[in-house]
């Protein structure tokens, strides 16, 4: 088994085919989209492949250490940041091919006009534990 992260970007990836911002959809289209995401996660739980799914607020704060005895420095949000992560899903599947298949399904979530968004999802493998047998 291998775990993969399906990363959804607000921006940073190539444009989706059905690239209409969500605030221009109808309320019914938004509901249909949410329902699709929910059903997708529920189906993965049933197949024993679901690990985690989370959505992120679009704006965050950058934080860094500023030396002994001083409070951390905060900055941002930076409007010019190119890459913006919207959320993720973590799956645990038998093969890379299966991971690609599931990412394809997730990318087909309905958007404006009830048509699939065809959005680009980034698929990244988790690093695993090292194998026991090495020679």
């Amino acid at each position: 088994m291998a775990k993969y992260l399906l990363l959804k970007h607000y921006r940073g990836g190539p444009a989706a085919v059905n690239d209409v911002p969500m605030d221009q959809w109808t309320p019914e289209e938004i509901s249909a989209h949410m329902q699709y995401m929910h059903d997708f996660a529920a189906r993965l739980e049933e197949t024993g492949e679901f690990v985690d799914g989370q959505a992120l607020a679009p704006e965050g704060t950058f934080v860094r250490y500023d030396g002994e005895g001083r409070p951390p420095v905060t900055d941002g949000p930076f409007a010019e940041t190119k890459d913006l992560i919207a959320g993720w899903m973590v799956i645990d599947v038998d093969t890379y091919e299966r991971a690609v298949e599931l990412a394809g399904e997730l990318s087909a979530a309905p958007g404006a006009g009830g048509k699939p968004i065809h959005e680009w999802l980034e698929l990244r493998p988790f690093l695993t534990a090292p194998p026991t047998v090495t020679d």
Binding site: D92, P125, T128, P130, T132
Partner: protein
């Protein structure tokens, strides 16, 4: 109470229930209930016949559950007519259960999960924790697996090779969590070896014991990987090595070589060397030849190239490596190592860094990054 002893009784009890006509999924639930009951009751009232106790309680639970299920009333009539629990051929039942849980209709992950639960007696929570997935996900994986094999009858032997692949996966791909999956794989393989006389089962058990023996020396206190050549051999488990070697020799004497025996022979040659320098690389290369012949595996060819680099010098290893597919896992790491041995530290450092980017495990990535950093630093001094 000894949890391992309790769990060792699981497969024969479950096997007996299925043989008496119980539906596999229901029988498995009943055995889990009986195990929970045993944990509660045995500390104050230890049974004289633990297996008989479990069988009686599990059978009663199964009947209760079946009765409660009105849709299954017809089956109830049938199972009620079965003879009362007595002593069953535990070994055969155990073996059938291994075959069932490694059934070819199951995906590797399902077979692993089902084996750990139905044969190993682990709880769903423990298995979920071991594989870092939510308990609900693991529960679904196991119940789907049970449904997949529920129609399979216990009337013909399965394929030992599929069982061995599942046990090897448990041994080789476990995280280091609360449940020690490598130790559990050794236990389950030992139990299988007691149930069936087969040289490859012995070969896998020997392979596991020989690698398990090195475990105390495999990681530094900070959790980083220690490569074989740098391990403190005084920390290897000599009892496990002796047992592994003896099991392997008995298996090899039967002259039915298989991949696990060949792999175990390689591990045994490493175990036999008092220091890394005294390793018999010539013999190791010969065993890799056997392994390549038996499996045709490109990974075996890659490992053979590294062994050849030790036996005939790094240039020979690199020449061998150049004939192999560069996209093979650890190809870059092997090339880095051979270049380092050949004294070409600049190339080695570059390849180690590249191999680190391709590593599939965190510990390997850190190890390869350290190798690159060490070479870069020594060159800059």
């Amino acid at each position: 109470m000894d949890a391992a002893f309790l769990r060792s009784l699981t497969p024969s009890v479950l096997g007996a229930l299925v043989r008496r006509g119980a539906d596999f999924a229901a029988a498995e639930d009943a055995v889990q209930d009986a195990l929970v009951e045993a944990v509660r009751v045995w500390p104050t009232a230890p049974p004289r016949d633990p297996r008989g106790w479990l069988l009686t309680v599990a059978w009663r639970r199964f009947l209760d559950a079946t009765r409660a299920d009105t849709a299954r009333r017809r089956r109830e009539d049938r199972v009620d007519a079965e003879p009362a629990p007595g002593h069953a051929p535990a070994v055969d039942d155990t073996l059938q259960l291994y075959f069932l849980c490694a059934h070819p209709a199951l995906t590797p992950a399902s077979a692993v999960a089902l084996t750990l639960r139905a044969v190993g007696g682990l709880t769903t929570r423990q298995i979920a924790q071991a594989y870092l997935v939510p308990e609900a996900t693991m529960a679904q994986r196991i119940s789907r697996a049970k449904r997949t094999v529920s129609g399979v009858r216990f009337d013909r032997p399965g394929d030992v090779a599929t069982v061995l692949r599942v046990l090897y996966l448990v041994f080789n791909e476990g995280y280091l969590g609360e449940v020690d999956l490598s130790a559990e794989a050794v236990r389950l393989t030992r139990q299988l070896a007691a149930a069936i006389d087969h040289p490859e089962v012995a070969g896998l058990l020997a392979l596991m014991l020989l690698h398990h023996a090195r475990r105390p020396a495999r990681t530094a206190p900070d959790g980083s990987l220690v490569p074989l050549a740098e391990q403190d051999r005084g920390r290897w488990d000599t009892a496990a090595i002796a047992e592994g070697v003896e099991i392997l020799q008995t298996a090899l004497a039967r002259d039915r070589l298989g991949e696990f025996q060949a792999q175990a022979a390689i591990a045994a040659l490493h175990a036999d060397a008092p220091t890394a320098e005294e390793t018999d690389w010539v013999q190791i290369v010969e065993w890799y030849d056997e392994l390549v012949r038996l499996t045709g595996s490109p990974i075996a060819r890659l490992n053979r190239a590294v062994a050849l680099g030790e036996a005939d010098g790094p240039r020979a290893g690199l020449a061998e490596l150049s004939g192999l597919d560069e996209t093979l896992p650890r190809h870059t790491a092997a090339a880095a190592y051979l270049h380092e041995r050949a004294g070409d530290t600049a190339t080695a450092a570059r390849l180690y860094a590249e191999a680190a980017r391709k590593a599939t495990s965190l510990a390997e990535r850190d190890h390869l990054t350290r190798r690159a950093a060490r070479l870069n630093n020594s060159r800059n001094v």
